[in-house]
Subunit: 179 residues, 2 copies
Amino acid sequence: MKKKNIVFIARSLDGYIAGKNGEIDWLHAIPNPDNIDMGYGELMEEIEAIVMGRTTFETVLSFGIDWPYAKPVFVLSTSIKEVPEVLIGKVTLLHGEPQQIIETIHKKGYGTLYIDGGSTVQNFLKEDLIDELRITTIPILLGGGFPLFGDLPTPLKFDHIASHVYLDQVVQNWYKRRR
Amino acid sequence: MKKKNIVFIARSLDGYIAGKNGEIDWLHAIPNPDNIDMGYGELMEEIEAIVMGRTTFETVLSFGIDWPYAKPVFVLSTSIKEVPEVLIGKVTLLHGEPQQIIETIHKKGYGTLYIDGGSTVQNFLKEDLIDELRITTIPILLGGGFPLFGDLPTPLKFDHIASHVYLDQVVQNWYKRRR
């Protein structure tokens, strides 16, 4: 089984994934008349399952839309005790150390994973469990908020593998962990 | 007189300009056999003067090399009382509020300025005095250090104007303040 953990996430030019009051409206401030997906569809084809933290899960639920994921979603939470009935079979709750979580998901047969959510990404990076970063940068300085990256016990080197500019404004860079 | 304040600076993928212990060796970790300057020469042609903080000034002095700037340098410091004799005529000491400093330099006839140094860039951004950001991103997560960007009283929108990839690894993006 091919194993790979991919982060696909947008941040402001100063590195925040949400503003001081949790605002994410700036993520969609660049006009996108043709609704291009900036690599999201390609990612969804490539991955076998999604791993996200509780905050991301609750944010998605708060949108009040149909469940948007066609792939199995693993939600990391100790506080959520059961999956909403409508999501049974689509969402699995897990908790534990990042390495344990990955092994559990691998045993279920899913090797290529999309790791999503600020705290989850930070916790996985702390254990050097991220193989690829696909980072979309929105040209705004928020001046505060929830940072994408956090403290690490040791620096991690990556190789740059691709750059895309979308909508003339949004830069996406792909990086692969140098191992 | 054309007036423009340009930041040209390198940061890690997680947004630091120096590591936890001030280390900057990672800035030069990507092999650069032909010594390409990644836009530095072009910047030096374009600007009329350089504005830097005390820390940057002292860092440059610590290199023990000949004074590397052909353009007038304004060093912002309240603690340095006089310019080293060898730099008289090349370096001018200034202190005060960013807006004041800019006006003083404009009055001397220099309109296009290179604003350098972490604290100086942050202080100028707080007053919305930066017109262009040329940010070079090195593909490493340092996991801590001195951040390029700091808190802002209000978000600042920029327009993306150019992207370059140097040495297959180093991404440089140019942004212009949307006013």
